[in-house]
């Protein structure tokens, strides 16, 4: 059957396609921001998680070798755990919010494309909305951390940057799972279990083998190294931050390619 892309002809061609972007961007952001459970998780879960993890970890000194630099560091184990807990919080909140929003609207997005929305415009709008949500959640999580610990010097900006890259990575993973996974349960399970394993295996307090080279291949490795290097070693490990961004980009590109395939329609010959 001879079929190609199906979009109806524009009725008013004077209105350029690029004008679709502000509408798509505004509604994509609104759609992702309307998940009340995700906001509740953010407001209540993040401080509770910090409190709980700090209570479990205590303030015992911990000596470990920072994988990225080889530098031996002696730190407050509770503070290190707060970084792990913050990273873990953003994986769950952002991953869940983006996954739910993308999955819920996939058929609607397909109808929009069918109606003539450019896929590239929808993709760009979704990407921007995910970035804004991720950055907001990361900022909030980093700010709440200050209630438990005030890092020295450039420590807090490094932690914030690590959280932001982590949020972008799991936002992109949420996008990928949203277009890939068939059921809600599978998606939530993968985000929660993936986030827990990813972040807590990086913490030498919880995992004595945290310097195992295999952990370099985990998405949280780069952001964790950047946050810990900045907070305790006073080093800006930009390469590791870029490594985290590479994970975010890989997930995002995979998700957007699948989104493009799943929302494409056909145009019949006339």
């Amino acid at each position: 059957m001879a079929v190609t892309d199906l979009t109806s002809r524009p009725v008013a061609p004077g209105q350029a396609a690029w004008r679709q972007f502000p509408t798509a961007w505004r509604f994509a952001l609104r759609n992702q921001a309307r998940n009340r459970l995700a906001w509740l998780l953010l407001v209540a879960f993040v401080p509770t998680w910090y409190l709980l993890m700090l209570a479990i970890a205590g303030h015992k000194p911990l000596t470990f070798r920072l994988f990225a630099t080889g530098q031996a560091l002696t730190v407050d184990g509770g503070h290190l755990t707060l970084i792990s807990a913050g990273l873990n919080s953003v994986t769950m909140v952002v991953g869940f919010a983006i996954f739910a929003a993308i999955r819920r609207t996939l058929a609607f997005d397909k109808r929009l494309v069918f109606a003539g929305y450019r896929q590239a415009t929808l993709i760009a709008a979704k990407t921007c909305a995910i970035a804004v949500i991720a950055a907001t959640v990361a900022l909030y999580t980093a700010l709440v951390l200050l209630a438990f610990w005030r890092p020295d010097g450039g420590g807090w900006p490094a932690i914030w940057a690590g959280f932001t890259v982590m949020a972008l990575t799991y936002g992109a993973l949420g996008l990928l799972l949203g277009v890939l996974v068939k059921g809600d349960l599978e998606g939530f399970f993968l985000i929660v279990m993936g986030g827990l394993m990813d972040t807590f295996l990086q913490n030498p307090l919880g995992n004595p083998l945290a310097n195992n080279p295999v952990l370099e291949w985990f998405p949280s490795f780069g952001p964790m190294q950047f946050a810990v290097g900045g907070a305790f070693g006073h080093r800006a490990l930009w390469g590791h931050l870029a490594l985290g961004l590479a994970w975010a980009a890989a997930f995002a590109v995979s998700g957007l390619v699948i989104f493009q395939i799943r929302t494409r329609t056909r145009r019949h010959p006339t």
Binding site: V3, L6, Q20
Partner: protein, 215 residues
Amino acid sequence: MTGGAGAVLQARDVHKSYGRHQVLKGADLAVEPGQLVAVVGENGTGKSTLLRILAGTLAADRGEVRITGTLGYCPQDPVVNDSLTVGQHLRYFAAARRLASLQRADELVELLRFGQFKDQAVGALSGGTRQKLNLTLALLHDPDVLLLDEPYQGFDWETYLRFWDVVGDLRSRGKAIVIITHLVFEQERFDVLAGLADGRLTRHDAPTEDPHGGH
């Protein structure tokens, strides 16, 4: 059921299988401007599959579909976004269709009488109102060819009659309309009844006492 050269919708030898289950086995359909065609058939005979193939949202295994002009498709289940309001849907789809104004959208909202819900999130609306929005989104750009899959599901009687007013107006302006329907008692409203059975369409000319659908 192939038709003349004036057809704006022409489907030839459309085949579709789901696994081993062959649903369409060479369905043909031709619809001319201003013609109102009903696709009828028992549950599970492939009516929605056929319409999705005609619309282009589902690929056929074999066959050819040709459409002249713009197309509007109203799916059986409302494909809407629960977190957006009715008004936001209209603006979103107006942007998709690159419409300069919402004039046609406002007309349809008025005709189908759901203007009072314009600022409500669609997730909070009744099934009938969601279906009105579903239909409005398909008609927003005043398409030349319309494919409607049981478009009046959940409508109250008043809205149902108004739906036929809208269809009458579209037909009088030369729009080609295909409707999947179960309403055998409304056959006189249609120009052509296309019965789908055993994967093929069979054409029956509808009763002609009142071909333009008065009520």
